[in-house]
Symmetry: C2
Subunit: 312 residues, 2 copies
């Protein structure tokens, strides 16, 4: 059985929509806690212009901290998101282990985000990925809006596969499909990953879902069924925007880990520590977070019948 990989992206995708800027000391404490839980990859931040996303202004500083001696005692892989060449330069200067970068499968989304067509953005990301690899770094290239786009609606599967093929042709074999708008459904997930693995069954292809419509874990299960073994999530289900109805948080990491463990995977990850961390995050923001397991607690060996359960 292939081992499942868990990539915590809460400190990046999870926080970037939060209005309240998390102090660097608080982020540091949270990242330290995540590093101790046994997850495989932790995304520390994104190298976006600080004026554009103030929440990410301390990304370089955080990387310097965690790549300094003793900063990451278990050697957990530290990932950073880069959007452009400038970001890549910053990331190379502060010790990023794994660079994450992506292309949107939606022309409208691509133009709004990068002012480039999908084709141009793909060429640019491939060039950046090669530069990062030349510098000895791991690279994960993603297709954003892979399951639908907030601007365009449905995204044809062939468009996603065309980008994946470009990545594979360029020798990039660590991929991720991101459900940026939260439109994925389990049926669609099985279809798309089946087609991706039909291109090359030996690639690593992660999944990145948002729980906007309650389907993140269903989508993870569908992905797992067809061979996906790498999952991106945010602690407590961070990533929703509390001020608008439309944005749902990422797949909730501790809910995902709980599900993986109940399915016989990754008993080594410290689920109680993830639950404690989610509770701390909920306390910090002063609101109930989307995660389920941090509220329910892990399933007790015995006892704690839900009140009223006697009725059915």
């Amino acid at each position: 059985m292939r081992e499942m990989v868990v990539h915590e992206v809460g400190m990046r995708d999870g926080l970037q929509m939060e209005e309240r800027v998390v102090p660097t000391e608080q982020k540091t404490a949270w990242i330290e806690a995540v590093l101790r839980t046994g997850v495989d990859i932790v995304q520390v931040g994104s190298f976006v212009h600080p004026g554009r996303v103030p929440q990410m202004a301390d990304t370089d500083r955080l990387f310097h901290h965690f790549t300094s001696p003793g900063g990451n005692p278990d050697g957990v892989l530290l990932s950073g998101l880069v959007l452009n060449e400038k970001g890549l330069e910053r990331g190379l200067a502060c010790g990023v282990d794994m660079f994450c970068m992506g292309v949107s499968a939606s022309e409208t989304h691509s133009l709004k985000n990068t002012r480039m067509s999908v084709a141009d953005a793909t060429r640019r990301i491939i060039a950046m990925a090669r530069d990062a690899e030349k510098a000895g770094k791991r690279v994960q290239v993603s297709v954003q809006s892979a399951f639908g786009c907030g601007y365009e609606g449905p995204v044809p599967q062939e468009r996603v596969l065309a980008i994946v093929k470009s990545f594979l042709d360029a020798g990039l074999r660590n991929l991720s499909l991101a459900d940026t708008a939260g439109h994925a459904t389990p049926e669609r997930v099985e279809d798309l990953y089946r087609d991706v693995f039909a291109l090359d069954q030996d690639i690593e292809c992660a999944c990145h879902f948002h729980n906007t419509y309650g389907l993140a874990l269903a989508n993870c299960y569908a992905a797992l069924r067809v061979g996906v073994a790498s999952f991106e999530g945010s602690i407590a289900g961070l990533g929703g925007c509390p001020f608008t109805a439309v944005a749902g948080g990422n797949t909730c990491t501790e809910d995902l880990v709980h599900a993986l463990q109940r399915g016989g995977h990754r008993a080594d990850i410290d689920l109680p520590a993830l639950i404690d961390l989610a509770r701390d995050v909920a306390r910090f923001f002063g609101r109930e977070m989307p995660g389920a397991v941090y509220r329910a607690g892990a399933i007790p060996e015995r006892g704690l019948m839900p009140p009223g359960a006697r009725e059915e």
Copy 2:
């Protein structure tokens, strides 16, 4: 393709844990709204002793209302839960279309609930089911705690299958497996339903999940994959207990219908009406409900990109 059946149980399983008793007029309005949405079966209440569950004290009155001329213009199937012979008698007197009754697969749960062993409770339920059928009624027999028990923990699959076999041997072919404690996982769901359908592939076997650990929709998807075509849910995800951490709500009906519709099923159900109803339920209780879709709204044709989505 087999058509999917949706059974709304929010007015029973969803409400019975709520401290605030919903006035009969309010329940009537909600049930009227559900009846207009196009779901197939609506559970009106349970025939439990009113002193035990005050929330269910008006069950007979509600049935009288909805079975009176003009009360149920589209002839939606009205179900009621019965726990004992007295309840069956009450249900027969007030026009229940479909009787739901069940046996727990957990000895401890069975003893606590019914003061009977699983074997005795099975015999009793089969006798009650036959009486209901003799009276010309539909009957759905369920196995409670089919995926785990809050008292005993894991419940061996063979115990569930033994009860199912007893039901089938008694000629009862409309079944439901209920995840009373919310312990089901998609892997377990696929396994158990496969074994159930191996006993008789032509039975109708519904699924009833709780979202305690965030897996209700993943479990529905797993069930659907192995042939389940009947789903029980509560509007807005009612059924959690706001005062304890352990109890999660039922599968959220509008989230389920949204997922079914995205998967190509049941375009006839009025999802916007379900969303309006969920919002009304949330307003009534004055708190955020577990459902996702009532907050996000249905996926717009175009537009409404989640803020921050540009970052990935």
